[in-house]
Amino acid sequence: MDVSPGELMVAQAAREIADRDVVFVGMRLPLIAFVVAKRTHAPNAIGLFELGVVRDAPAPELLYTMGDTPNVRGAVWCARTVDLMGLLQQGAVDAGFIGGAEMDRHGNLNTTAIGADRAHPTVQLPGSGGGADIASLAKRLIVIMPHDKRRLRDKVDFITSPGDHVSVLITTLGVFRFVDGEAVLASYHPRSSVQVCAEHTGWPLRVAPNVSETASPSSEVRRIIRGYDPDGFWTRRGD
């Protein structure tokens, strides 16, 4: 079974969306997770895009950014950023997706800069976008990022997005849940293992008693993913 890490992450992310959830979608993999969830177990989920788009049905074609014209055509609301952020601050948003360059064991994410001095960074990252708002204000936060010792660090240089509301971290190797504010490995992906996850994690790994292999996407889910991203632009990147 040829499933890419991107596809595994998308399938797991889709499971995190409940039916009727109001979700801040974000770009890249989460976008496809929203498509999968809508077409399988969460037909009534609503997607919010922070530039001001609200959709009750995913755009029919692959998006490269949330502002692509097909994401606006057929939206039920075309609003202002502040309207959607207002709903978020009210507590009306169930879940939000974000990515990160680095994360600590408490779920704090850095997408701003690597290095101790913000004015003279070693690596300048793009920044928060709406990530820090979603992390601060959504009921639960779903984080997707590559699994790498230099990314899952004991301490991050800059807290862009605080980890308080992180409910799950989905990596290229496994899935973490947060117990008492700390990341605990809940499952490892096929071809990964607890051992592999431990080797690539920058903090002493905590493992759930019932740790197991991450469920592989069903053939239906794989079909949806590949139908939506046929060239694997987002789901087979860097494979």
Binding site: M27, F49, E50, L51, G52, V53, Y64, T65, M66, G67, D68, T69, V72, R73, C78, A79, R80, T81, V82, M85, L88, Q89, T112, A113, R118, A119, H120, P121, T122, V123, Q124, L125, P126, G127, S128, G129, G130, G131, A132, D133, A135, S136, L137, F158, I159, T160, S161, P162, D164
Partner: protein, 300 residues
């Protein structure tokens, strides 16, 4: 009194060196790249850029040495990754050091909203546990006098000039924009003055037939410029799609400073104006054109 001028004139007259310029405020779509290019051609210096995402527009301006300061939530290349010029400026001071005022999209929106409202400040609960407020340096922590909870106070951002791109405007600057607004309206209303890049210049009667579509009223506008295709490579709803590959090419071409310089020489300083830029794009530009689906009728 018509405010119609050329892009060259609008930028020369209304964007002096050192200006605080908001642009790209609809986030990924409707970014007025034509204006960014003209700022580069006119070798503007010490600009203070304001915008939440800006895709590669801020990166180009930074790489060209036009920028002293950036107020933004995100500076990068949305579908391709990091912004190389922004990285070089921040990491190595090439071509110059810039000051960054970090924001989230919400604090950017609230700052411009406070500007639009003329409000002294707006309190929020976002970013209370983030390092962004410290890095931004303009917010203040406070205690809510109602419940004693910690809040963050966001002061107004008032751009000297906001540049917006829209589907159509009249010669007074009353501008119709449809599709997502992002923080465009707040940025326009907050600004001391506004430059409108209109895909189409229309009679006042077209605007007045549908005043709910007006994103910015003429009273705020100093200059109206007729620039078809002003947003390429970003999209403009109902007019043209995003040129994804153009963003990816830029990403690949600008990894090194020398590559960036070649790219700018080819696509910006090497063409006299935006019409020449579109002509250079040729059939690639034509292929992006969309006509969209009509909105259901509304009668006033």
């Amino acid at each position: 009194m018509t405010k119609l001028v050329s892009l060259k004139e609008a930028i020369a007259r209304h964007v002096p060196d050192g200006s605080a310029v908001a642009l790209g405020c609809a986030l990924e779509p409707a970014i007025p790249f034509a204006a960014a290019h003209e700022l580069i051609r006119q070798r503007k210096r010490d600009l203070r850029l304001i915008g939440p995402i800006s895709d590669i527009a801020f990166d180009m301006l930074i790489g060209s040495g036009c920028v002293a300061e950036v107020h933004a939530a995100w500076v990068g290349n949305v579908s391709a990754g990091l912004a190389h010029c922004y990285r070089r400026a921040m990491e190595q001071g090439i071509p110059r050091r810039i000051i960054v005022r970090d924001h989230s999209n919400f604090t950017m929106a609230l700052s411009l909203l406070a500007g639009a409202l003329g409000a002294p400040y707006i309190a929020t609960r976002t970013l209370l546990r983030s390092d962004i407020p410290r890095a931004n340096g303009t917010f203040k922590e406070a205690t809510s006098p109602w419940d004693g909870s910690k809040v963050l106070l966001i002061p107004p951002l008032v751009p000297d000039v906001t540049i917006i791109a829209c589907q159509r405007a009249d010669a007074d600057g009353n501008a119709h924009q449809w599709g997502p607004w992002g923080v465009s309206q707040e940025a326009a209303l907050a600004a001391k003055t506004v430059i409108v890049l209109a895909d189409e210049v229309v009679d006042r009667a077209v605007i007045a037939s549908d005043p709910n579509r007006t994103i910015c009223p003429g009273i705020k506008v100093a200059a109206v410029v007729h620039v078809p295709g002003a947003c390429h490579p970003s999209p403009l709803q109902g007019r043209y799609a995003r040129d994804h590959e153009f963003f990816h090419e830029y990403h690949r071409a600008t990894r090194e400073a020398a590559g960036f310089e070649r790219w700018i020489a080819e696509w910006v300083t090497g063409v006299p104006d935006h019409a020449a830029y579109l002509a250079k794009l040729g059939p690639r530009w034509t292929a992006l054109r969309e006509t969209g689906e009509p909105a259901a009728e509304a009668r006033f």
